[in-house]
Symmetry: C2
Subunit: 182 residues, 2 copies
């Protein structure tokens, strides 16, 4: 993995990274790499995952608190992508390579989404969340705003406290509180 | 513009589109094109804009109704991108060309966002929306979920009525209604 990072830091484009070149940089044989990873896609995805903030411990005190923790992770990822040219370039290159993007999706995005779904289902069951909205739609309503800000709008601010504000606002609604209690 | 569409339908990559080639396809001189567009970026952005659903008439009956109209436009764009291979490819190529992406951003995305901001400000002023959340954050909370579904998650469903559901849910909040009135 350090070998991959070194090559990327040296400006080698993703398309030119080969297992052979990675092995040479790391000073090991190709077989050593293939023992752990099935190909350069899997290896590359693990490098990206290691560069991103780790999945947070969920407090479990309430669905709201778990959502805040996951939104905060997303905010941190956005901040890191803004400050790390390397991570920024790696993610951009990943998006332009369908094979690597699919591997990232399957091993990072999908498991993350399943974890989010489980939290939302728990909320619908214990009464913290409305049960009349599809979990998949709810997921996008809760995480979509931070995702857009962190990933699609690199100039948008990501101030401290944004995760809490977004979580509470989507739970309580954007209408003035008085109009909830007419 | 038809000349550009024809070249794109023939599979000519965006990078190989030149004003000269477009002029030849359209059977006009280069000067004719330059009289209307300053370069291929501007011309291309107008082609994309013409292929997307037009900006909707806003009913103006309430901020909620205006938001539904704009969310519905976004849903329609998502449906069109899913069904039109041409539009899908054009948008993908546009994203990988920073110059064209910047032109699209300046002439389509930014004006659209300014229009959204004006609606949200009106809502904060007339009491339809909370005034304690930054308009820019509110914008992402309202449009982010549909944007993620329409653009970033090409496999997600975009059923009829989703615009209304998302608008009402973000306005009323994701907590069960009873917990608003303890």
């Amino acid at each position: 993995m350090e070998g991959v990072l070194k090559l990327l830091e040296d400006g080698v484009p993703l398309a030119e990274l080969s297992i052979e070149r990675i092995a040479r940089t790391a000073g090991v044989g190709k077989a050593t790499i293939y023992r752990r990873w099935s190909g350069k896609e899997e290896l590359f995805v693990e490098v990206v995952r290691a560069a991103e903030p780790p999945d947070p411990e969920l407090p479990g005190t309430s669905v709201r608190d778990d959502l805040v923790a996951l939104l905060e992770q997303l905010r941190q990822r956005g901040l890191m992508t803004r400050s790390s040219v390397l991570l920024h370039n790696v993610i951009a290159q990943m998006k332009s390579s369908p094979k690597i993007w699919d591997a990232y999706h399957a091993s990072v995005v999908e498991p993350r989404r399943r974890k989010q779904h489980a939290i939302l289902l728990r909320g619908q069951e214990n009464g913290e969340l409305r049960a009349d909205i599809d979990v998949d739609v709810m997921n996008d309503m809760i995480f979509g705003p931070m995702l857009v800000r962190a990933v699609m709008r690199p100039d948008a601010e990501l101030p401290e406290g944004l995760a809490e504000q977004m979580a509470d606002a989507v739970l309580e609604g954007l209408r003035p509180v008085s109009s909830h209690t007419p």
